[in-house]
Symmetry: C2
Subunit: 237 residues, 2 copies
DNA sequence: AACAACTTCTCTACGATGTAGACTGTAGCC
DNA sequence: GGCTACAGTCTACATCGTAGAGAAGTTGTT
């Protein structure tokens, strides 16, 4: 009676504020970033927010929807607009932005690449589709027909996602023991069956993701530029 | 006593044979192919094999290991060797093989792209590394230095995985109502924010994965061939 | 045939998870 | 005040992965 009304604040940092979708999603993102996808359970997230797990269902229909929300939230960090008239420079910049985004949220990448598999294109969250639309615009403004802009987008984004997956696979262990561990791992491979791979150990050990990405883009953009200068579409005047 | 020793065969099609890893994994694959990743629970797989779920732990340390096994099993379906001296033709063929593999096992693709993220390169199952080794060989034989063969491999496989993810995203719904559903979905998009995407509805509706893949490969291989003819590595005589 | 050593498979049990459904509080409005 | 709508909570349940102890089956030795 003479004690404080609030039972005991214990771990909860924030006073009980009204929840909302953004709050829930960003707490979820923090959790995923710091402890991985598996740590994102309804109970745990509820605890993190100082709320009953059930309260979350007001803001996401179920766990899968929560995951989609997180993935949308991350994609929204990507800013596309820019008036740079050089479309190749733009594509390059976007590529590096996306790469950095992925490195900032490595645990979310599996969501980015697999969640859309469960949702037909038209029904995805708008945030997810915005990059697509903006890149289409960019390409069309650059002179591609709508039709081939789509194909170019696919090749471009396909490569981008592939690169990101590749890069993340290289860097789970911390860079210090990276080389040692890597060699150790490679050492396990039968020399007869994996001569090339084993010989590449030193090269594998120092991986420069940004440079790797740029090399790939060089190839891709060169190819695209060549395509642009051709009379590619029959409708084109 | 007068009845058969075997209690009741009920649903079990095969007599109780001794289990082994291959049996378990291929049953798991069948399950994943037909009902999706979520259907692959230890209990369900046990039931499918007419065994106690616990018996599975003899052949896979835990569920994650089981998933890795399935993904390795699928990758083993990919045959790389071939003495075609034209490396570009080979890369093209492998790309299409992998694409078909992915279409044959769409539910496994999420595993293929995300499971390796949890395992450092050197510690992955050998089956998973074999394609890497073989493609490296192929490229080195084609005249690339070991060093740049690795970079080329990355660009190539990166694009490949990206394409596959892209393609699978287009085709979850069945082709009949595909167009309708697609339009329906797109119709939901605010016309102001998504003019390009909406306009592309008809193009989106008839997607030819193989052709798309080939276009991307055209770009990539052209770029690579150009690179090959350059004096790329200082060590090269 | 009899035993022993082993591998394989089964049983039971536990803690954790997602989520349905009924309930309790709380905020705004008349 | 009383009323309505919505936010948050409580309890409960089916299902999951898997630990640990034991039963059943297989194989080798004598």
């Amino acid at each position: 009676m003479s004690s404080n009304e609030n039972p005991v604040p214990t771990v909860v940092p924030v006073k009980k504020k009204r929840l909302n979708r953004e709050l829930v999603l960003s707490a979820a993102l923090v959790l995923v970033d710091s402890e991985g996808l598996d740590a994102l359970t309804m109970r745990r997230l509820g605890q993190e927010l100082g709320r009953d797990p059930m309260s979350l269902y007001r803001y996401a229909a179920n766990r899968a929807a929560l995951l989609d929300g997180v993935s949308e939230l991350v994609l929204n960090e990507l800013a596309i607009f820019s008036d740079d008239p050089d479309w190749r420079a733009q594509l390059r910049r976007i590529a590096h932005d996306l790469r950095r985004l992925a490195l900032r949220h490595p645990n979310v990448v599996p969501l980015l690449v697999t969640r859309p598999l469960s949702t037909p294109l038209g029904l995805r969250p708008l945030g997810t589709l915005r990059p697509l639309e903006q890149i289409l615009s960019l390409l069309i403004d650059a002179g591609f027909t709508a039709d081939s802009a789509l194909h170019v987008y696919r090749a471009y984004y396909g490569y981008l996602y592939g690169h990101i997956l590749n890069e993340l696979q290289e860097f789970i262990v911390d860079p210090d023991e990276n080389e040692a561990l890597l060699r150790l791992g490679l050492h396990r491979l039968p020399p007869k069956d994996f001569p090339r791979l084993r010989a590449l150990a030193p090269v594998l050990a120092d991986y420069d993701g940004a440079a790797e990405l740029d090399q790939g883009l060089d190839i891709l953009l060169a190819g695209l530029a060549a395509r642009l200068s051709l009379p590619e579409a029959p409708i084109q005047p």
